[in-house]
């Protein structure tokens, strides 16, 4: 399993794309997290207009075995939630870094401790 180099990662296993010129970044959970969850059957995502705070819960993902809180890796305002994932949560398992993205956020503040791909990979190996 490889973690894309162009993304950054939180310790809670979310990934964050580089923000575009409009300050909007895409957030999802990593393949490592998706594998640990097992089949995701329900996704409760933050709604457009919600303010999310780095390190705080903003939704939940349910799998066969458990329910897990979804954390936002950054602070900002939600501009889009992935309706495809709400309709078909298995996208989180089948394409965690692509079609299984969760939400887009206009970033106002990001924590200093986001990890690079290599750092995140090392964290999970430990």
């Amino acid at each position: 399993m490889s973690n894309p180099q162009q993304l950054r990662y939180s310790k809670e296993h979310e990934w964050l794309s580089a923000a575009g010129e409009d300050g909007v970044a895409t957030v999802g959970i990593t393949e490592f997290a998706a594998n640990a969850l097992g089949d995701v059957v329900y996704a409760q995502l933050p709604e457009v207009g919600d303010t999310v705070t780095a390190g705080e819960t903003c939704g939940e993902l349910e799998s066969t075995k458990s329910v897990s809180d979804l954390y936002s890796p950054v602070t900002g305002e939600i501009v889009e939630a992935n309706q495809d994932v709400v309709d078909d949560p298995s996208l989180v398992n089948s394409a965690p870094f692509e079609g299984g993205w969760l939400f887009k956020v206009r970033v106002t503040e990001e924590p200093a401790d986001l990890l690079s791909a290599d750092e995140y990979t090392a964290q999970n190996a430990g």
Binding site: G38, Y42, T64
Partner: protein, 372 residues
């Protein structure tokens, strides 16, 4: 418990080679799933699945008074089980509380194999050993003597037939016979915990890999897949089968769990728990406490063990097991619910899912029954 202290089955290396996600289950490092647990579940319902159940606890009881001992130690009439047949039963405390649910196989006139849950195997072994005092019978810990491989699902008879000369057509549900499968001596039992037709094969641990590989090969063309404990749990849940620690505990008698039929008062002689269970039976008849029911979600959020069942803002029960049901396509749960709210179709029942009262339909168990 750290992973170095976990026990490993004879198939451990094979599970790792298959890429299984492993989990600590009652001190054993067991496959949780190999790929998608939903796909594994569906394979068992429609084709076939292969399980390593070597964590289950086998205890052999032998001797001239083996039958008498088991009739005293367990709540069922074990003496009446014919040679080659099996019986679902329970072992209770003197106060009627359930210590474990068991399958007992009568291997010979004076030889039984008791199969306990992994989490309770030591408790059952200790209780049987203690209760054996004064009986001409021996209780033997055979946990390390067997590996247990199950093949479950509609294709399982065909798969097994290609590997054995044993008379599978003559082997009824809840029967077991010694035979040879893929050249390996095995106790072949038509039992399972999935709600499907299927077999459980008790073999020596040194034969487990060979048997697993032969079954895998025999099932190649008909969709057999390796299956982990995650889908075993959703399969048994759909089939309405109780799981110790969830639906069954020492705080409950078999009557509280709706399984009073396993208690055989008419059998000869005393048995551990008789007095308390007699009272529990009349209590359950006159003033039933909570009743075990099925719940089917109207929404998509999944009820989990321990969540409150609510009606009219009041707590009226508790979820004991819950999961998304691959067969129904909806979340389902088993719950103990106050008798007043337990009738199928009772309106206004919900589950408190982390603060939100989600509507649920009360249904009779099981959720799924195979077409025969």
């Amino acid at each position: 418990m750290s992973s170095t202290e976990l026990r490993h089955t004879a198939l451990d290396a094979l599970h790792r080679a298959l890429g299984a996600t492993m989990t600590d289950f009652a001190g054993w490092d067991m496959p949780l799933r190999y790929g998608s647990e939903r796909d594994e579940h569906v394979a068992v319902r429609t084709k076939a699945g292969l399980f390593d159940l070597s964590h289950m606890g086998e205890i052999t009881v032998t001797g001239p008074e083996a039958a008498r001992l088991l009739n005293f130690a367990l709540v069922g009439n074990i003496a009446s089980v014919g040679v080659g047949r099996a019986r679902y039963t329970m072992i209770c405390q003197a106060d009627g509380g359930i210590l474990d649910d068991l399958i007992v196989y009568r291997l010979a006139e004076t030889e039984y194999m008791v199969v306990a849950n992994a989490s309770n195997a030591q408790v059952v072994l200790d209780a049987l050993t203690e209760r054996a005092a004064g009986f001409d019978a021996e209780v033997r810990d055979d946990r390390d003597a067997y590996a247990l491989i199950a093949v479950q699902g509609p294709e399982s008879p065909g798969i097994l037939k290609s590997l054995t000369d044993a008379d599978l057509d003559g082997l009824k549900y809840y029967a077991g016979l010694p035979g040879t499968v893929a050249g390996v001596p095995a106790l072949i039992a038509r039992t399972g915990y999935t709600g499907e037709d299927g077999f459980e094969l008790f073999v020596k641990p040194e034969h487990a890999v060979e048997l697993w590989q032969a079954l895998t090969k025999a099932g190649e063309g008909v969709g057999l897949v390796p299956c982990g404990l995650s889908c075993r749990d959703t399969l048994r849940l759909e089939a309405g089968m109780p799981l110790y620690g969830h639906e069954l505990t020492t705080d409950l008698t078999p009557f509280d769990a709706g399984l009073g039929r396993v208690v055989k008062f008419e059998k000869e002689g005393d048995f551990v728990g008789r007095e308390a269970l007699t009272e529990a039976a009349s209590r359950a008849e006159q003033n039933p406490p909570r009743v075990l029911v099925g719940l089917v979600a109207e929404g998509r959020r999944v009820p989990r063990a321990g969540y409150a069942v609510v009606a009219g803002g009041e707590v009226v029960g508790e979820v004991t097991s819950g999961a998304p049901s691959p067969t129904l396509g909806k979340p389902i749960a088993i719950a103990y619910v106050d008798a007043a709210h337990s009738a199928p179709g009772t309106a206004g029942v919900g589950v408190d899912i982390r603060g939100n009262h989600e509507p649920y339909e009360v249904v009779a168990l099981p959720f799924y029954k195979r077409q025969k």
